[in-house]
């Protein structure tokens, strides 16, 4: 079962940051990668709202446009924030799965 079917349990900013750890991507590449990675379909309005917020917070930055597309990359600050959030999520996942296994 894909994550999207569980309702709004996915965090769009987390998905974007995770996708960018695989290298700089433009908007279309982000949507494609997130769909393959997490089976979540982000619309352009949602995606660019997230990109604007992440760029404002300094977690990503835009690169020089290539053709008609402009790629984005994750910054050092973004990597640190993502690492911290994923570590918290990993702990939650470990505890939750252990407890579920115990019941």
């Amino acid at each position: 079962m894909g994550i999207a079917r569980l309702g709004r349990t996915h965090d769009a900013s987390l998905l974007v940051l995770t996708s960018l750890t695989g290298g700089p991507k433009h908007g279309y590449g982000l949507i494609q990668d997130i769909r393959e990675m997490a089976d979540v379909s982000l619309g352009p309005g949602t995606l660019y709202g997230v990109l604007a917020r992440l760029e404002e917070e300094g977690l990503i930055q835009s690169l020089a446009p290539s053709g008609r597309r402009r790629p984005y990359c994750i910054t050092a600050k973004g990597s640190a924030v993502l690492r911290e959030r994923l570590q918290v999520a990993a702990v939650m996942a470990r505890v939750g799965l252990r407890r579920l296994g115990a019941t």
Binding site: G27, Y28, L51, R53
Partner: protein
């Protein structure tokens, strides 16, 4: 079609992301995604971009415009519901603050006698809210328009409070002289025992209503013009946000009272031979009856109007906070 949807986004957003999003949507449609679904997503994104302005460049002029617009949005709905308030309160036998202390005591006596004291107090709250909102608008927008006096266009509108003065004075005088029931005693209809006004009361009431409508239109135009002006210092904008806060609170309070009045009302009664459940205005051959249980007609526009200043308050809060960084930086 997508160009029209992207045009819903703010200009600063379109300058940064507009072309990217346009090309992206073209690629997604070519991939087979639903154009309708993409349109809905873009529209929701435009609403979020306008409300929260995440990623907006830290330029004082942009944030100043945003602050002013939010304040205008916060107060214009209050102006829009004033006619509903005036019409709904106009024919009541439970008088509002404008009548003065004696009328207020009489209003409570009437309400108590008929066992409907709760409705009487709710009318009072509506009247107080109307008064507070009016004073806040006069003081607040007067300060804001004074601050915008540098603009050549705004200079002509600098005396915004004067638009409200004839309205406030006229309404107070009219209420004190109990003009509201001039219609029933000096138009077509049975005389009302509590109304001592002469035949001049009717034409004066018409004149006051004309002034009221003119004041509403003029003030609305002034608000929109001030909202577009760029020469307003942050301190004045903060004051305008305080106006928005007061107006939003007044509107919410009045909406709650109107809804409560709608829930409580429904019974009728007779006081001194006059059925106070309804008052009929006779205008030549037409007649308009404002009933006590027209609370619902009041509560609907109040409730709708209250939502806009609430959103405007949140928007102005974010905007003024960012604008304050420029103020302290300089």
């Amino acid at each position: 079609m997508f160009d029209r949807v992207i045009a819903l986004y703010p200009r600063w957003w379109r300058d940064v992301y507009g072309s990217e999003v346009r090309h992206l949507t073209e690629d997604l449609v070519a991939d087979g995604q639903s154009a309708r679904r993409l349109t809905v997503n873009l529209v929701s994104g435009a609403v979020r971009a306008r409300l929260w302005a995440r990623g907006m460049p830290m330029r004082p002029d942009l944030w100043a415009v945003r602050s002013r617009l939010s304040i205008a949005l916060a107060t214009l709905p209050w102006l829009a519901v004033l006619p509903f308030l005036a019409a709904g309160l106009h024919g009541s036998t439970a008088y509002i603050l404008f009548h003065g202390p004696d009328s207020l005591r009489r209003a409570h006596a009437v309400a108590d006698e008929t066992g409907m004291s709760a409705l009487g107090y709710l009318y009072d709250v509506l009247g107080y809210g109307m008064t507070v909102g009016m004073v806040a608008a006069v003081v607040g927008w007067g300060a804001l328009s004074q601050a915008a006096a540098r603009s050549r266009r705004a200079r002509r509108l600098v005396n915004v409070p004067l638009y409200f003065l004839p309205l406030v004075v006229g309404l107070y005088v009219g209420r004190v002289s109990e003009l509201d029931r001039a219609w029933t005693s000096h138009g077509v209809g049975p005389p009302v025992p509590l109304n001592p006004n002469g035949p001049w009361a009717g034409p004066l009431l018409v004149a006051l209503w004309i002034v009221f409508v003119m004041a509403l239109v003029a003030t609305s135009v002034a608000l929109l013009t001030v909202a577009r002006d760029q020469e307003i210092p942050p301190r004045a904008i903060k004051r305008g946000r305080q106006v928005a806060t007061v107006v939003a609170l007044a509107l919410c309070c009045m909406a709650v009272c109107a809804i409560a009045g709608a829930a409580l009302s429904g019974s009728h009664g007779v006081v001194q031979g006059v059925s106070y459940s309804s008052v009929t205005f006779h205008i030549r051959t037409a007649s308009v009856t404002v009933r006590r249980y027209d609370w619902l007609a009041l509560s609907a526009p109040l409730a709708v109007a209250a939502t806009v200043p609430i959103a405007g308050w949140f928007v102005s809060r974010h905007a003024v906070r960012n604008l304050s960084t420029f103020f302290f930086r300089f």
